[in-house]
């Protein structure tokens, strides 16, 4: 069983599994978003978690001082996700029945004083959070080590937990892309959401039915491309950033067979059985065409489709193209991951001469 889980946990297999789980969750959110489901899930998760923790290898990873906040956050993320689905399911049922959402009921629209209702409770939260942090700091001492030695880096060298998703992306992308372009786009995209999403539905209440695209798209990026990658980065990446199953000992000498090939090499050497052309643009022609096509041909094609037309009608050309670009860039990550696993593809466009690798 443990062997099997170790085997399954490899991103090659676990990523599709997570994608399928995400699909099922969103599809059947009305089942997931019930209290009964929560209890059943807890009844399954708690023993499983205990069983996982009983493994000495996994336990050592769990109790690393760096990882404790991640565990707390994961629990919170899980609960809040369920809570969203629960509330959405409740509201969507009412909306289907022609009623207003719960938040729209008259008793929920009544206004109360800011003081003391809000300010006082905020103070409680501040005090309670401070107490919690202080006690935590006392019990789990800061994992300070000896003075940093640039010639003796820790192995694995891990980013702070909130950047582990980015670090995981580095496996698939050039540092320029994974470290600068994509994080930049993520930030810009998050800032742009209120300006793109003009749909007034869902203001002040949870719903999935009324805004499926926004919910599906965002949650995919959040849960699958961010949280999942953090989990992988935290628990499943060991020395040398090699993948280790949860029950696997972090053996520093583990060797993994990995040899990645550029798309241009596929084309010229494997496909056409000739040598690589001297001119670098000619060499990378296929990759360039595919990339340009992905960015410039795909959006208009989508716009021409029935779905695209409807979208443009609703939000206008400008918003549509920005949204599509953001979406395509987001999707480039899973696409690249899958290509890497299936074909050991290194770069679609490999122009190290220009420091440009896609």
């Amino acid at each position: 069983m443990r062997e099997f889980i170790n085997w399954m946990a490899d991103p090659i297999r676990s990523f599709p599994v997570v994608c399928v789980l995400f699909f099922l969750m969103m599809k059947y959110y009305r089942i997931v978003g019930t209290k009964k489901f929560l209890y059943l899930a807890l009844a399954f998760i708690i023993p499983t978690a205990i069983w996982f923790g009983s493994d000495p290898n996994f336990f050592t990873i769990l109790i690393l001082p760096d990882n404790i906040p991640i565990i707390i956050l994961l629990v919170l993320v899980g609960y809040l996700q369920w809570f969203t689905l629960y509330k959405s399911a409740e509201n969507d049922k009412r909306i289907e029945a022609g009623l207003c959402p719960i938040e729209g009921l008259p008793e929920n629209r009544e206004k109360v004083w800011c003081w003391p209702n809000l300010v006082y409770t905020e103070l409680f939260c501040i005090i309670a959070a401070t107490c919690f942090l202080v006690v935590w700091a006392i019990i789990f001492k800061a994992p300070l080590e000896e003075p940093a030695n640039p010639t003796w880096a820790p192995n694995p060298a891990k980013a702070p937990w909130y950047f582990l998703g980015l670090q995981e992306m580095l496996v698939y992308f050039d540092p320029w892309m994974a470290g600068v372009v994509l994080p930049g786009v993520v930030v810009v995209g998050l800032i742009a959401i209120p300006y793109i999403d003009t749909n007034p539905k869902g203001n002040g209440y949870f719903t999935i039915m009324e805004r499926p695209l926004a919910m599906w798209g965002f949650l995919f990026g959040w849960l699958v491309l961010w949280i999942y990658l953090i989990i992988v980065g935290t628990f499943l990446r060991g020395p040398n950033w090699t993948f280790y199953g949860p029950f696997e000992y972090w053996d520093y000498h583990k060797v993994v067979a990995e040899y990645n090939v550029n798309l241009s090499e596929f084309l010229w050497i494997k496909g056409l059985n000739t040598s690589m052309p001297q001119n670098m643009f000619l060499r990378e022609i296929l990759g360039i065409v595919v990339s340009l096509g992905y960015v410039f041909v795909l959006p208009p094609m989508m716009a021409a489709s029935k779905f695209g037309k409807g979208m443009i009608e609703k939000i206008g050309n400008m918003r549509y193209y920005i949204l599509v670009m953001l979406f395509l860039l987001m999707m480039s990550l899973p696409i690249k991951m899958v290509l890497r696993w299936l074909f050991s593809l290194k770069y679609i466009v490999a122009l190290p001469e220009l420091e440009l690798n896609l």
């Binding site: 409680f124 107490c131 202080v134 006690v135 006392i138 080590e145 003796w152």
Partner: protein, 958 residues
């Protein structure tokens, strides 16, 4: 559900309750924060230390109190009472004096004021006067006549100044009188109080120690002030419990690209480490066990200058708890104890954890570099000696060891020394021929005894033999072995001095005692070498090998033959019967092919191989195998000059990160530097165990069959090789004198002089054989540079002649270069701190009657009964004194006469002037100094100026 007020989501009273609860919780947390910050393990240790100190002081105080003579104190007390009574009768006089004194003091005070005022007036007038002077000068310089007014002003100021100066001097005079008065009166008063003061002084003498101890005890009190100073919140002001640290400016820590002064806070817990008197305590309260050498204030390594972690290693600046310093347990028991007591675990990612206690000496090498021998570092010296013995430096470069000779014999002329069959069997398994062999075993080890590997190894050994024989130069022994008396040979070999460098079969016990290693252990020689070669070698070693360190013992032909006969009688039949497997050509080709394919494709490699003839193939493999196993690192082999040694450099081995040590799958080896090195030394091939390696990748470090002790001491010497950058100021710098001595010590070690001679307490291995009577062994060289004259010494090293005719052991003749000879001579000179030459013409200057006295003394003390050479026919038992004129320094000779035992304990020379008391009181009035002086003169007077040659037997003047 209760009704809420309008505009409210919660009930206010409920909110208040929550707030109250949270406030209390927050207060508790804050208190917890402070307590957590306040309670530190080292504070408990310091309080414990104060308690220990208190107990010690109380004990001492008790003892001091017991020592006080109560009776005497009581009498002194009554004396004091009487004295004060007596003094009180003089009250009137005292009163009068007091009155007078008061008046004088008052006057002094007022005079001081007057004096001060006048002084300032004088200064001010002087300034004014000078100003006018300058003004006048300026006017004159302009070529004008100064006005009358100016001159008048000048005169007026000058008069004023004069009068002030006069008054000032008068006041000063008066002051002197007053001070004299004060002195006189004080003295009178004291005289009146004399009895009381004196008795008080006597009492004070008795109770001072007690009072001092009481004062110290006062400081250990943990009263309310102590509590307040160390209370939480206020302990930032001036706590008594605090972190103590030593900051070392002269030793730095490497903080990656920056050297910062070392900070050691170890003394925070090891409170008494530099204070004698706590030797009986448990750690951390114990005194340093070697206070006279380390840590102590007057030691060469005081705490404030040398710190702690400079020797012990570890993270000296971290005092969080026991773990953070990276303490390291000595052994398994201590490890278990610490795990239990301190929850100790192996420190993570600490570059330099603490050295095990028994390995601390390793750190000496950090600062004491370029020396052959570090006094006091017993274990380290032993380790370094073992490194020399087993020749580690041959294959592994170690900075500071470059001057050493290759540890193995030269193979330039191997073919004329041994036969090929012997060679192959020897290389295959040196220990099977001679269990004391220093040559390590490369073959039939744990990682290469698979048949497949053996087959290839055999081919390699065969090829190496062919290669070496091919390269070997021809050599013809100059003497023929004519047979001899083996018994006499054995007798001679064991007495003439061979054992200073060689162990010998048949004398294992003595050999073990001596522990000689400069030459091979003589065992099975008859099965090894050619008889003619052996005789020639014994007679003149440099004939076969020019740069050998084996000296000539000036053996006669007969003696050489006798010793040869004995050595040839030592045979190893079992080894002789061995037949080495013949060359397997297919194995040879396989191995060669592997070499070729490393750089060429298989086709090219095959072609290359096929181009070679059969003989060429063998020689090629031989050449490559000598390179592969690094034979050339220890032996001189033709064709390998200038190749760098085969092993990795060990200069910085002690700083190599632990992650770079390959532990393989050897889980039972302790995961530390020393653990790896020791395991490696004991069995270098262990890392291959359980790992499937191809033939060419097998670990090649050979097996030395070291004892546990040898491996341990060598490990200590190796982990001391660190790359810490220590500022020049912190390193032991040899001064000019020490540098010359060190240079000489290197030569002395090279020729193994110390195998026989003990040089100022250093080694003298062979003396172990003469435990019963050290006078039968080679002379101990104590202050040799003071004993002998340098020109004689220089001559002697090249022209050895017998000085002590009763000795069976011989000083051999070395093949020294001029430079080496000079180095040895100057070394002894500087070691003893002597001038180079003695002016012999000035020694003998007889005064009237001295010569007669000297003759009488000579007879009286019967010098000639032992120093008989040239005086009578007795067997001489002491050196020939006719040679003393050229050989000894007069100042040393006198020192020797004065107290021979002080120079050479156990010498047969009697002390005639014990404690300065002459045994011939009638001569020269019994003046010891004068007697010794005339005797020295007498000796130099009769001595001869001519130096003896090799053929001079015993000198005779009569």
């Amino acid at each position: 559900m209760k009704k809420l007020e309008p505009g409210m989501a919660y009930k206010t009273s409920k909110l208040n309750k929550i707030f109250a609860f949270l406030s209390v919780l927050f207060l508790m947390v804050v208190v917890w924060v402070f307590l957590d910050d306040y309670i530190r393990p080292w504070k408990a240790v310091q309080i414990e230390a104060i308690k220990i100190k208190k107990a010690k002081l109380e004990e001492k105080l008790k003892k001091v109190e017991g020592d006080i003579d109560e009776k005497r104190l009581a009498t002194l007390q009554t004396q004091l009472d009487q004295a004060s009574k007596k003094v009180s009768t003089r009250r009137k006089e005292v009163f009068a004096i007091d009155k007078e004194l008061k008046q004088v003091l008052k006057e002094i005070k007022s005079e001081t004021i007057i004096n001060g005022t006048l002084n300032s007036q004088v200064s001010a007038r002087t300034f004014l006067y000078e100003q006018v002077q300058v003004k006048i000068k300026k006017v004159i310089a302009k070529g004008k006549e100064p006005s009358e007014g100016l001159f008048d002003k000048k005169k007026a100021i000058f008069d004023d100044l004069k009068s002030f100066k006069g008054r000032f001097l008068a006041s000063k005079d008066k002051m002197k009188f007053l001070q004299a008065d004060q002195k006189r009166l004080t003295k009178q008063k004291l005289a009146l109080n004399k009895e009381v003061t004196e008795t008080n002084k006597k009492i004070k003498e008795i109770v001072t120690t007690k009072e001092l101890l009481e004062l110290a005890l006062e400081k250990t009190k943990m009263g309310p002030i102590f509590a307040i100073r160390n209370a939480p919140f206020v302990d930032f002001l001036d706590p008594t419990l605090k972190i103590q640290q030593i900051v070392l400016e002269n030793i730095t820590d490497d903080r990656y690209f920056q050297q910062v002064p070392k900070v050691d806070r170890c003394i925070t817990c090891h409170t008494f480490i530099d204070k004698p008197g706590y030797e009986d305590q448990e750690n951390p309260h114990r005194t340093h066990p070697k206070l006279d050498l380390m840590v102590g204030r007057d030691s060469p390594h005081p705490m404030k200058k040398s710190g702690c972690t400079s020797c012990h290693s570890g993270d000296g600046h971290r005092v969080n708890d026991f773990q953070s310093i990276a303490h390291w347990p000595e052994d398994k028991e201590q490890r278990a104890e610490w795990v239990k007591k301190y929850k100790w675990h192996e420190p993570h990612r600490i570059a330099t954890p603490m050295l095990k206690l028994s390995q601390t000496e390793a750190s000496c090498v950090k600062c004491h570099q370029g020396v052959e021998h570090i006094p006091g570092a017993t274990v380290l010296n032993e380790g370094r000696q073992n490194i020399e013995k087993f020749g580690c430096y041959g294959c592994h470069k170690i900075k500071g060891w470059e001057h050493k000779r290759k540890p193995g014999p030269s193979l330039y002329k191997i073919a004329s020394k041994v036969d090929k069959e012997f060679f192959k069997n020897w290389v295959w398994s040196p220990k099977s021929f001679n269990k004391h062999a220093m040559m390590p075993s490369f073959f039939a080890q744990s990682n290469n005894s698979k048949p497949e590997f053996m087959r290839k190894n055999i081919a390699e050994v065969n090829a190496m033999a062919e290669f070496l024989w091919d390269k070997s130069k021809s050599y013809r022994p100059f003497m023929k072995y004519t047979g001899g008396d083996a018994k006499a040979g054995k007798e001679l070999a064991s007495s003439v001095g061979c054992m200073g460098c060689h162990g010998m079969e048949g004398a294992e016990k003595v050999s073990e005692k001596i522990g000689a290693y400069a030459g091979p252990f003589l065992s099975g020689t008859g099965s090894k070498v050619d008889p003619d070669w052996l005789v020639s070698w014994l007679k003149k070693p440099s004939h076969y090998q020019e740069d050998t360190i084996m000296p000539s013992f000036r053996l006669s032909d007969r003696e050489a033959n006798n010793i040869a006969a004995y050595l040839l009688s030592l045979k190893n039949k079992e080894f002789e019967a061995k037949r080495f497997a013949p060359l397997d050509r297919s194995a040879r080709d396989e191995v060669l092919l592997a070499y070729f394919t490393a750089f060429d494709s298989e086709e090219v490699a095959h072609a290359k191989l096929n181009k070679l003839t059969d003989r060429q193939k063998t020689l090629e493999l031989g050449y490559r195998s000598v390179g592969k196993y690094g034979c050339y690192s220890c032996h001189n082999i033709d064709g390998f000059a200038g190749r760098s040694p085969i092993g990795p450099e060990l200069t910085n081995e002690g700083s190599k990160p632990l992650t770079q040590f390959g532990f393989g799958i050897q889980k039972e080896v302790e995961h530390s530097r020393d653990g790896w090195i020791k395991a490696h030394l004991l069995d270098p091939r262990r890392w291959d165990k359980g790992i499937d390696k191809p033939f060419q990748d097998l670990t090649r470090m050979p097996m030395f069959y070291l004892s546990e002790r040898e491996a341990e001491t060598m490990t200590i010497a190796i982990i001391g090789q660190v790359n810490d950058k220590i500022p020049l100021i912190g390193v032991k710098q040899l001064d000019a004198r020490e540098a010359i001595v060190e240079k000489g010590m290197k030569v002395i070690n090279k020729f193994n002089c110390v195998g026989c001679h003990e040089v100022d307490g250093y080694r003298g291995d062979i003396l172990a054989k003469y435990e019963d009577d050290l006078n039968e062994g080679p002379p101990r060289l104590v202050g040799e540079g003071h004993r002998v004259q340098l020109d004689w010494f220089h001559y002697f090293l090249d022209n050895v002649y017998p000085i002590r005719p009763w000795l069976k052991v011989r000083m051999p003749s070395y093949n020294l270069t001029d430079e080496e000879r000079n180095t040895i001579v100057t070394m002894f000179q500087y070691k003893a701190g002597q001038k180079a030459l003695v002016d012999r013409s000035k020694i003998v200057n007889w005064k009237a009657g001295e010569k007669q006295a000297a003759k009488e003394l000579w007879e009286e003390l019967a010098c000639a009964s032992c120093h008989s050479s040239g005086f009578n026919q007795d067997e001489p038992q002491a050196p020939n004194l006719f040679f003393a004129r050229r050989r000894l320094r007069p100042s040393w000779t006198k020192k020797w006469l004065k107290d021979p035992q002080a120079i050479l304990p156990g010498t047969l020379m009697p002390s005639f002037w014990e404690d300065g008391e002459s045994q011939a009181p009638d001569i020269l009035g019994g003046d010891s100094e004068a007697q010794m002086d005339v005797l020295v003169k007498y000796m130099y007077d009769m001595g001869t100026e001519k130096l003896p040659t090799k053929n001079t037997k015993y000198w005779s003047k009569q």
